[in-house]
C-alpha cells in the first residue's frame, strides 16, 4: 500500500511574538503619549475596517515555528515526530489538524482526519460523564449515533461505570483522564494526529493507552504521533521525523532517527558542586553540597565503557542533629526507563557535611546515556528532598570480538558466565530420551 495520505510542500508557519515593549513610551514626551492615545482608536478602526490583524506597533518580531517543510506520509504509516521543546512539533500538528493556518506552503490530505491534541477537550466539570462523552465525541468529529453505539465500550474502557451520571468535577484525576482518553481511543478516523497526550496518567493506564494505540496502528490507520517517550516511539512507529527549529533534521526509520536524536541531545555532567550552603538545592534539613561521577578508568581508555566501574559520590549538609538519614539513587536511561534504584544504609547522622558513595560495578550497564535522580530519605520512608537529573553520564561500547557490530540490545549488559560442554559426539542415535537443550547463540 503506497497511497499518499499527507503531502506537505514548503510548509511554513510564522508567529508574531510580542512586538516592541510598551515600555518604549517612557522615552517619549507626554505630548506624544497623548497624541498616541488619541490616535489609537482611529488606528483601531482602520485595522478593523481592513480586516487585518493589528499589532499596534510597526516593529514586529517574527518567529518561524515551521519553515520549508516537505514530506509525504503514506497510508498505514505510523510516524513519530520528535524534537526538543519549541522545535515545531505541536505547531505541525496544529497546522495539519486545521486549528491554525499555515503562513505559506500547502498540505494535501486524503482521508478523514481526527486530531487528539489534548484529551478531554470540551469537558465541562459541571456535566455528567455521560454528557461529556457525547460533547467530547461531537467535538472530535464523531456522529451522535456513532457515539451512542460505542458508549458502553467507552465507559468500560474508562472503568467508570458506577460514576457515569455524576458530574466529572467529582471524579478523581485518574478517572477523569481515563474517561477522556476512552472517548479519544474510540475515534476511528483514517488519519490520526496525536500530540503528547500520554504524558499524563499513571503507568498502568499509559500502558493500556499505548496498547490501544498499537491496536489502532495494526488496523492499517495512518498515525502521526508526537512524543518524548522514546521507548514508546520506537515500539509504535515505523518512521520518525526529527524536527529542530521548525525544519526537518532527519526523516527515516524510527530506530535510527531516535538513536541519532538521543546522541545529539545527550549531555554529560559528571560533577556539580554548590559551594554555598545558603543557595544550594535543598531545604532546612538537608542541602546538597556536591555530586560526582568518578569513572574508575584504567590506562587503556579515557572514556566510560561498559567495563568501567563508576564511583558515585554525594555530599550534603545535614542541619538536624541525629537525623536518621539515607540516600536513594534512581538511575534512568535517556528513554526514561528506570534501570535500578539503590539506597544507602539508614543511620543516625550528626550535623555537618556528610558523604554517601557507592560504585556501579563493571559489566552492568549497556552502552547509552544515563542520568541520576537523588532522593534523601529520613526515618526510613519520608522523602526529605528529591532532585532529578542531578548528574548524567554516557557509557560507550567496547571494541567487540566477533562479527556483530550492531547496537547490543537490552537495558543492562551483565557479564554472565556461560558454560559450554560436549555431551555426546556424533549424530543422534534414536532413543526415547528428551533431546539435549540447544546452546544459545
Amino acid at each position: 500500500m503506497s497511497e499518499i495520505a499527507i503531502s506537505a510542500s514548503n510548509l511554513g508557519k510564522r508567529y508574531d511574538i510580542g512586538a516592541r515593549a510598551e515600555g518604549d513610551y517612557r522615552y517619549k514626551a507626554m505630548r506624544d503619549v497623548l497624541t498616541d492615545l488619541a490616535l489609537k482608536p482611529f488606528r483601531f478602526m482602520r485595522s478593523v475596517a481592513r480586516g487585518e490583524r493589528p499589532s499596534g506597533h510597526s516593529e514586529r518580531q517574527l518567529f518561524w515555528a515551521l519553515k520549508g517543510l516537505d514530506f509525504e506520509i503514506e497510508h498505514g504509516q505510523v510516524v513519530g515526530v520528535i524534537g526538543r521543546n519549541g522545535a515545531g512539533k505541536s505547531t505541525l500538528l496544529k497546522v495539519l489538524s486545521r486549528v491554525t493556518e499555515p503562513t505559506e506552503g500547502r498540505v494535501r490530505i486524503w482521508g478523514r482526519v481526527g486530531s487528539l491534541l489534548e484529551v478531554g477537550t470540551g469537558f465541562h466539570p459541571e456535566l455528567s460523564g455521560r454528557d461529556n462523552i457525547f460533547m467530547n465525541g461531537a467535538i472530535l468529529g464523531m456522529r451522535r449515533e456513532e457515539i451512542a453505539r460505542k458508549f458502553d465500550e467507552m465507559v468500560a474502557f474508562a472503568e467508570v461505570e458506577k460514576f457515569i451520571d455524576m458530574p466529572v468535577k467529582r471524579y478523581s484525576s485518574g478517572m477523569y483522564l481515563r474517561l477522556a482518553f476512552a472517548v479519544a481511543a474510540h475515534l476511528e478516523p483514517e488519519i490520526l494526529l496525536v500530540d503528547e497526550v500520554l504524558a499524563v496518567g499513571d503507568v498502568a493506564f499509559q500502558k493500556k493507552c499505548l496498547g490501544k494505540m498499537g491496536d489502532v496502528s495494526r488496523r492499517g490507520r495512518t498515525i502521526l504521533f508526537v512524543s518524548h517517550n522514546m521507548t514508546a516511539l520506537r515500539n509504535l512507529c515505523t518512521r520518525a521525523i526529527w524536527l529542530s527549529n521548525g525544519q526537518v533534521v532527519e526523516d527515516g526509520d524510527a530506530g535510527t532517527v531516535v538513536g541519532h536524536y538521543l546522541q545529539e541531545n545527550a549531555i554529560s555532567q559528571h560533577e556539580s558542586v554548590w559551594p554555598d550552603p545558603a543557595t544550594a538545592p535543598g531545604n532546612d534539613i538537608v542541602r546538597l553540597h556536591s555530586v560526582r561521577v568518578l569513572p574508575q578508568l584504567d590506562e587503556s581508555t579515557d572514556r566510560i565503557t561498559v567495563r568501567t566501574p563508576i564511583r558515585l559520590e554525594f555530599s550534603y549538609w545535614n542541619f538536624e542533629p541525629d537525623a536518621l538519614l539515607h540516600v536513594s539513587l534512581h538511575l534512568y536511561s535517556l528513554e526514561e526507563v528506570c534501570v535500578f534504584n539503590v539506597a544507602s544504609q539508614p543511620a543516625k547522622r550528626p550535623v555537618g557535611l556528610l558523604r554517601d558513595s557507592c560504585e556501579i560495578p563493571p559489566n552492568l550497564l549497556n552502552d547509552g546515556n544515563y542520568y541520576i535522580r537523588l532522593l534523601v530519605v529520613r526515618d526510613f520512608s519520608t522523602f526529605v528532598f528529591n532532585y532529578p537529573n542531578v548528574a548524567a553520564f554516557e557509557v560507550d561500547d567496547i571494541e567487540r570480538e566477533g562479527a556483530w557490530f550492531g547496537k547490543w540490545p537490552g537495558v543492562v549488559r551483565p557479564a554472565i558466565h556461560w558454560e559450554s560442554e560436549v555431551l555426546e559426539i556424533g549424530p543422534p542415535v534414536a532413543r526415547h530420551e528428551p533431546a539435549p537443550p540447544l546452546a544459545h547463540r
Binding site: Y15, F44, V48, G51, R53, P54, K94, V95, L96, S97, R98, V99, T100, E101, P102, T103, E104, G105, R106, V107, R108, I109, W110, V113, S115, L117, E118, T121, G122, H124, E126, L127, D131, F134, M135, A138, I139, L140, G141, R143, R144, P167
Partner: protein, 269 residues
C-alpha cells in the same frame, strides 16, 4: 482536502455549519445545562431579571414620571418589551464572551468557530421561553387575550435572534483580539436599552423620525411584540422594514468579519 493560507476575502462556507449541526446542538445543550448549575434557585433567574426590571420601571417611569404606554397598563406594556429585550441583551453578553470562554476548544480542535457564538445566542431561547410564559400568564390575569396577530411573534423573535447574533458575532471576534470588549459590553447594553422603546413607546416620535429610529433593529422587534400580543400601537410598517434591514446588515457584515478574523483566532486568543 487541502490546507493553504487564505488571503483577502474568504468564502463564508456556511454549508460547513450544516455538517457540524450535531456539534452546534451539543454546544447549545451544554450551555443550557451548565447555565444554572449550582445555583440555589436555578432557572428562576431567567424570570427574575425581566420581572424585577419591570417592577422598577413601573415604579419610576410608570408611576412617578407618568410615561405614556399606548393605552395599555404600564406594567404589561413594559414587560412585553423587556422579555425580548432580555433575550437580546443576554445573547449579546453571552456570545461576546463565548470565543474567549472556549479558548481551550479553539486552540485544540478544528470546527467551524461560528458554532460557538451561535450556540450562545440559541441557548438563551430557554430563558426566553420561560419569561414568555410568565408574560402570557400575566396578560391573561390582566384580561389580555392574544388575537390572531400573535402568530407574528415568531417572526419578531427571529428578528431579535438575528440582531443579537449579528452584534454578538462582531463583539466575539473583536474580543479575541481586544479584551476591551469585555468592558464595552455592559455599557453598550445599558445605552442600547434607553435607545430602544422598552420603557417608553415609540409613538412619542413622529414620522419621519420613527423610521430613522427603526434603524435600531430592537425598535422593530419590541414594537412588533407589543402590537402582536397587546394590540397596542400601530401595525409596524416602514419602521419594521428599517429594523429588519439593519438587523440583516449587521448579521451579514458580522459573519464576514468573523470569517475574516477566524484564521487568527487560535494564534492570538
Amino acid at each position: 482536502m487541502e490546507i493553504a493560507p487564505t488571503t483577502g476575502w474568504v468564502a463564508l462556507r456556511l454549508r460547513e455549519l450544516v455538517d457540524y449541526r450535531e456539534l452546534l446542538y451539543f454546544l447549545t445543550v451544554r450551555e443550557i445545562k451548565v447555565r444554572y448549575k449550582q445555583t440555589a434557585i436555578g432557572a428562576a433567574w431567567a424570570i427574575i431579571q425581566p420581572l424585577f426590571t419591570m417592577i422598577i420601571f413601573s415604579l419610576f417611569f410608570g408611576r412617578l414620571a407618568k410615561v405614556p404606554s399606548d393605552g395599555v397598563p404600564y406594567s404589561i406594556f413594559c414587560f412585553a418589551g423587556l422579555v425580548p429585550w432580555t433575550m437580546f441583551a443576554n445573547g449579546i453578553q453571552q456570545s461576546s464572551n463565548s470565543l474567549v470562554g472556549n479558548a481551550n476548544l479553539i486552540t485544540k480542535v478544528y470546527f467551524p468557530r461560528l458554532t460557538v457564538p451561535i450556540s450562545s445566542v440559541l441557548s438563551g431561547m430557554v430563558d426566553f421561553a420561560l419569561a414568555f410564559l410568565l408574560l402570557l400568564g400575566f396578560m391573561l390575569y390582566r384580561g389580555f387575550v392574544p388575537n390572531v396577530h400573535a402568530l407574528w411573534v415568531p417572526a419578531f423573535l427571529l428578528l431579535a435572534v438575528v440582531s443579537s447574533l449579528g452584534v454578538g458575532l462582531w463583539l466575539s471576534a473583536l474580543n479575541v483580539q481586544y479584551r476591551d470588549i469585555r468592558y464595552v459590553v455592559p455599557f453598550l447594553i445599558q445605552i442600547w436599552l434607553f435607545a430602544t422603546p422598552v420603557a417608553y413607546p415609540s409613538s412619542m416620535l413622529s414620522e419621519p423620525w420613527r423610521t430613522v429610529y427603526g434603524l435600531n433593529p430592537m425598535v422593530g422587534v419590541i414594537e412588533g411584540f407589543r402590537w402582536a400580543l397587546l394590540g397596542s400601537g400601530s401595525p409596524p410598517g416602514l419602521m419594521l422594514v428599517a429594523s429588519s434591514a439593519a438587523a440583516f446588515i449587521i448579521l451579514f457584515t458580522g459573519v464576514i468579519y468573523f470569517r475574516r478574523m477566524e484564521r487568527y483566532f487560535a494564534d492570538i486568543i
